[in-house]
């Protein structure tokens, strides 16, 4: 297909069908966080009781915002800058803000995937030996003593990083159907098969039962703790890949007549299903570790994040019969989960530039990807990469993504008052209808909850800095990152478009009763 992407409805790329879209959306949502964030967060916040706030969060925040993203992308047929500009000219910069966040995340996400790829090889002979922690930060990453910005590239990271970039850029250059969709159609089922195998294996380990007991035993008093509810909302929010441009972009490649709410439900529950599976697998494995070391599960440390994956799990793999096989499967699964999420981030950025400047998918892939590849090598494959990654990630998530969500919901809801139109659009094309409650959740509930999270998160960062890093470091690379993204967003919105984005005619056409200023009720809501 030689048509250039995204100039108008006649030439926009498309998923080959609903299934392709669902696999891609689930592939985007299921990522590293499903595996290494959910289990620990659930465990620390009430264990089995966490299911309650978690489900409430899925239904009250996760799915509503997912549907908002779908409605925006599907109706206005573009990546975030195009979509927000079509809503209101001056809103374009919010779209570029989302693009900027995605770009920043890409830079370090690729490096984490490179680590996972390395550890697939390390698993074969349990190269980490007796001291996985020392191996990870010392021998492998060669983390330097002082945080800063060194140019000492670590060859062990560089090689897999280059390989990861080659793979994703090829996929990206092939476009939505031949690249993105095909990659997800292969990788996602493969990921599920690998992971189910791991979980089944873990369930047969000695001590698995104790691990599962620790995970699922409910602490009902946690339900009275607001921190637990916030943790649930945060987990759902970060897990679903919502509110920073991915789902807007992905849904824009759906044909006009597409069942949005029904597919949204599938994507939301599929993402949660995978997390739950990961929780079972991780804690069965941790139970084995506790059993081997003769301690309680509650006494274990390193239950989340990179430490879980690259220190705790290698430790367990060394103790396990058939450990190397488990390790190969586990790190391969991690890499696959990461790659499908990474592709979605890249697509956001590439398509934004394709639409603004009239580039082809290949040009988008090479230009955007080329710059990103170089930056990721220079910034994150060096001896100062780890603390830098940690800091940038925290700010990108807690300030960037949450900020984007708050601004987006307030802008679309209260300021521009487009929620009735979007609700009408969702119901016009979908078989599962949503009621007025959706407008209330998106317009008021979500900004309140996420606004609270944003304020408390920012306050903590301002007051305590981050990670024990020196203040200059946090200012430069934490706040500095946010600042650079803001400037980028403003500047990009002033650059001229190659093709006028305002030519788009939204479909289905709004009936007269739905016109914004009329403010009447639409079809039965």
């Amino acid at each position: 297909m030689a048509a250039r992407a995204g100039a108008g409805p006649a030439t926009r790329e498309q998923w080959s069908g609903q299934t392709g879209f669902i696999l891609a959306a689930v592939g985007s949502a299921v990522g590293l966080g499903n595996i290494w964030r959910f289990p620990g967060v659930a465990y620390e916040n009430g264990g089995g009781a966490f299911l309650v706030p978690y489900l409430v969060a899925l239904l009250a925040v996760g799915l509503p915002v997912l549907l908002l993203d779908y409605a925006l992308g599907h109706r206005f047929r573009g990546s975030p800058p195009s979509v927000f500009r079509r809503l209101s000219t001056r809103a374009e910069s919010l779209g570029w803000f989302q693009v900027g966040i995605s770009f920043v995340i890409i830079l370090y996400y690729t490096v984490i995937i490179a680590w996972a790829v390395s550890f697939v090889w390390f698993s074969v002979d349990t190269a980490w030996g007796d001291d996985p922690a020392g191996f990870f930060t010392g021998e492998y990453l060669q983390v330097s003593e002082t945080p800063g910005l060194s140019l000492d590239i670590v060859p062990g990271v560089l090689l897999p990083l280059v390989a990861v970039w080659v793979v994703v850029l090829v996929v990206l250059a092939l476009g939505v159907q031949r690249g993105l969709e095909r990659a997800n159609v292969v990788f996602l089922p493969l990921l599920v098969v690998l992971f189910v195998t791991l979980v089944v294996r873990a369930l047969f380990l000695e001590g698995a039962g104790e691990g599962l007991t620790a995970f699922f035993t409910p602490d009902w008093s946690a339900l009275a703790d607001p921190g637990v509810w916030i943790a649930a909302f945060a987990q759902i929010f970060f897990s679903l890949s919502i509110a920073f441009g991915i789902m807007i972009t992905y849904s824009s490649y759906l044909k006009r007549r597409s069942n949005l709410t029904s597919t949204g439900l599938v994507v939301g529950f599929a993402n949660s299903s995978f997390e739950l599976l990961a929780g079972i697998g991780v804690f069965a494995t941790l139970g084995f570790m506790a059993h081997q070391e003769g301690v309680q599960v509650g006494e274990l440390e390193g239950l989340t994040g990179p430490v879980l994956s690259f220190v705790t799990f290698p430790h367990i793999i060394s103790m396990m019969p058939g450990g190397p096989v488990f390790g190969v499967l586990f790190f391969s699964a991690l890499a696959l989960a990461g790659i499908t999420s990474l592709l979605s981030l890249l697509q956001v950025v590439s398509s934004a530039f394709q639409e603004k400047f009239g580039w082809t998918p290949r040009q988008g892939a090479l230009r955007v990807g080329g710059v990103a590849a170089v930056l990721s090598v220079v910034l994150f494959s060096t001896t100062t990469g780890l603390p830098l990654l940690d800091t940038v990630d925290t700010f990108a998530n807690e300030v960037g993504i949450i900020g984007s969500a708050v601004v987006m919901t307030i802008l679309v809801g209260v300021v521009l008052r487009r929620l009735p139109e979007l609700q009408w659009h969702l119901n016009a094309v979908s078989s599962t209808r949503i009621g007025a409650w959706w407008r209330w959740m998106v317009g008021i509930g979500v900004p309140v909850v996420l606004g609270y999270m944003l304020l408390t998160g920012v306050w903590t960062l301002v007051r305590d800095g981050y990670g024990g890093n020196p203040q200059w470091f946090v200012n430069a690379f934490g706040w500095g990152t946010v600042g650079v993204i803001v400037v980028f967003a403003l500047v990009m919105s002033f650059v001229r478009w190659r093709h006028d984005p305002d030519e788009l005619v939204p479909w289905p056409e709004l009936p007269a009763s739905q016109l914004r200023h009329g403010g009447q009720k639409g079809p039965r809501s």
Partner: protein, 51 residues
């Protein structure tokens, strides 16, 4: 495993994975042609535009 933990595990699995199953069934059962009458701007396939 303790009984409580088993119960919570089963309930979690039923709700979450069951929710997935139900939502898939819901999707598969939807009529193919939801939406207003008449072709949408991208149906049937249009010819490619040249730059």
């Amino acid at each position: 495993m303790t009984t409580t933990a088993v119960v919570v595990l089963v309930v979690s699995v039923l709700v979450v994975w069951g929710g997935l199953a139900l939502s898939i069934v819901n999707l598969l059962r939807s009529p193919a042609d939801v939406g207003p009458e008449g072709p949408a701007p991208d149906e049937p396939a249009v010819g490619e535009r040249t730059d």
